[in-house]
Symmetry: C7
């Protein structure tokens, strides 16, 4: 992985529908602010962001739920990723 | 339960209309920002969120009232849950 | 009363027009942000809310004036209540 | 006076046009955010409001100028009052 | 002058076009947020305003430039004044 | 120069197109939030502005880039100036 | 390079599509808030910006991803640059 997110940003990769079924998570597909499942692929260093101390609570490999419209999409070597702030991650799926 | 909410987030499960009647709570169904009754199924760790110390005041099993449109809905093993911040919980029903 | 409000929230019950006349308070009925008279039925614990120390200044039994559109309405055992933050209470009527 | 305003709120009573002429203040009547002259009838205790120390600078009996659309109107024993925050009072007329 | 502004407010009196020409300041008359020249006639005490220490930097008699739509207009003894916060004063003309 | 800006404000004078070409800066003319080149003609004292310590980083004579729609225009002795806050200055051109 | 950005601002130069392909980054071209790849050409000093200590985390020569609509475009000697705040840089590409 050759992206190093700044500050409290996290890079995640959406999990396909098949993977979701395996882990038992099924996300209804119609609502507008619906979260989605993804895997964390890179984590920023945290630290003092906008005057506040932010400790990163997710790590590479975590499965997370996030809001569908949070963050910004990027494509690297034909894979799509999302860069978002940690506060837009709702929960870790274990 | 296999969802671990981050920060001051709480995972709740809506109570059905029948249960509401049993506990004596009847919620009028038409108003837009109407709260709803739910049971807490997972609680984030709290701590310093957005530069402020947040202590979690609800615990798993609490019956709570929350605003209908707060938070984000997720579906796990065909059950629907809502992930919301603790500040969107109005009251605990005892 | 079986609702325990969280943080700086207060549960109030609107006073009927007859009671208002008795206490000498008459509220004109047309303006949009018009306050209303109510009785406090439950008070949250206060404390540090959103990073600020909030001391609760109203107590159960207080007659208060509040903005008509503040807070959220709930119905319990066929009684209607409003859950609102203390800062949306304008004054105590004595 | 049987209203005790909370926090940094102040209860004022509008002065009639005649009184205004006597004190030499004439307010033009057309502009939208035009201030108005009123007399202070009750003053909240001040203190820490929304995390900030507020010292009350007006006292009962002060003539004040305030923005026409600030605060909330209430009617008590057929008198109309306005409940507003002290920061919406522009000046004291002496 | 019988107006005592509260907090960090300042009372100013607009300078007529003739006076402006004398001091060498000509303000173009068409733009919407165009500043105007005025003379300071009363200055609030400053102090802690909204949780922040404000030191008053203008004094009675100062010629100042301010934004045309800042503040509130009042009329006293047939003179028109503007009450505005010191932060809406752009500059002192010397 | 007879304008003394307050706080963290700066008075600048737009550079003409010819001057821009000399310094090698060419600004495309169509975009809406396009910056412009100007020369600093007066600098406020800085200090504690809105509760925050501001140190002035530009000085009289600096060539600066600023956002076209920031600040307020004034005309003095037929010269046009812009009064803006230092934070609306993007960069110094050297 | 003759631009010295103020505060926490950064001057970047967009990388052409060819360069993007070389580094393996391909950005899809249709979405509205799509990030873009660029090279850092000048970095402000950081320090206390708007009351908060900002440490600059990017350096001249870094390849970065940024939001397409962040910042302001300037043209110098026929090259186009973007001046933006460091917080609008999403990630460093390594």
């Amino acid at each position: 992985m050759n992206i190093r997110p700044l500050g409290d940003r996290v890079v995640i990769k959406r999990l396909e529908a098949e993977e979701k079924t395996k882990s038992g998570i099924v996300l209804t597909g119609s609502a507008k602010e619906r979260p989605q499942e993804a895997e964390v692929v890179a984590v920023g260093p945290g630290g003092v962001i906008d005057g506040k101390e932010i400790r990163m609570e997710v790590k590479v490999g975590d499965k997370v739920l996030f809001s569908k419209y949070a963050g910004t999409e990027v494509k690297i070597d034909n894979d799509e990723f999302v860069i978002l702030k940690q506060e837009d991650i709702l929960a870790v799926v274990e």
